[in-house]
Symmetry: C2
Subunit: 165 residues, 2 copies
Amino acid sequence: MADKTLETLFHETLKDVYYAEKKLTTNLRKMARAAQSPDLKAAFEAHEEETQTQVERLTQVFELIGKRPRAKTCDAIEGIISEAQEIMEEFKGSPAHDAGLLAAAQAVEHYEIVRYGTLKAWATQLGLDEAVTLLDATLQEETAADEKLSALAESVVNAAAEKAA
Amino acid sequence: MADKTLETLFHETLKDVYYAEKKLTTNLRKMARAAQSPDLKAAFEAHEEETQTQVERLTQVFELIGKRPRAKTCDAIEGIISEAQEIMEEFKGSPAHDAGLLAAAQAVEHYEIVRYGTLKAWATQLGLDEAVTLLDATLQEETAADEKLSALAESVVNAAAEKAA
């Protein structure tokens, strides 16, 4: 297996993240519909639009390494999203619903942040300068999306505590 | 379902993270055995010891809320760990093995960082001061573990590129 180099790893991880982003587009729509707080709903809708651009950037990175865009099942995102679905089902209509949903969305963001950070580092090592620029653009957006959710968290959690009181 | 409050959500998430930490103890041992780089091996071994303390802190948090420590399958960590296992199998003996394994470990760390961040925020809201202290201690360790991996990443990735050359 000595032929499995950093290029192989980069390509495999790219397929994993491509799957994750595509899966997310659909799920962010569900999460936006489920959110009770109008602010949280708006945050999910805005991020769904961003995610479509991020998928497009990934297809450009595939082109840069001379590969056809292909997705490969990403077990991590499947697991994280199944936790989000569990929250939506088990906490539907309850005061803590949005707090749980927001936390699940932050778990998604952190998975993406760590993956794009890794892909960017590998692209740098491989001298793929255009890919570095594309991956960094998405990394910045994911970090900003996570910060937006953190800023929303306090009011969403306070609302949960007040509703339950 | 109006009885599902922030307390319920805190308790459910605690069970999820408890499962994740226990699962991780075993898997960090496997990852330490698989690592080719002595530094990466040492980092996994050190973090396995920390993880045992973190499990112990979680049992204390369960006590603080008057519950018995119980684990609940965490789909997210199952998914993230299955990606780590895939790397260990598919890249075994190849130059990029450690770079992939290190990246998988960082995905684990980020999942823990986001979950402990959330639990700490909820504990603060719920006025569980002792729990906040315990959760924060682990959060600091996880953040430090992630930084240690980031610092190692460059040399591991360089080694991968050199071996392949």
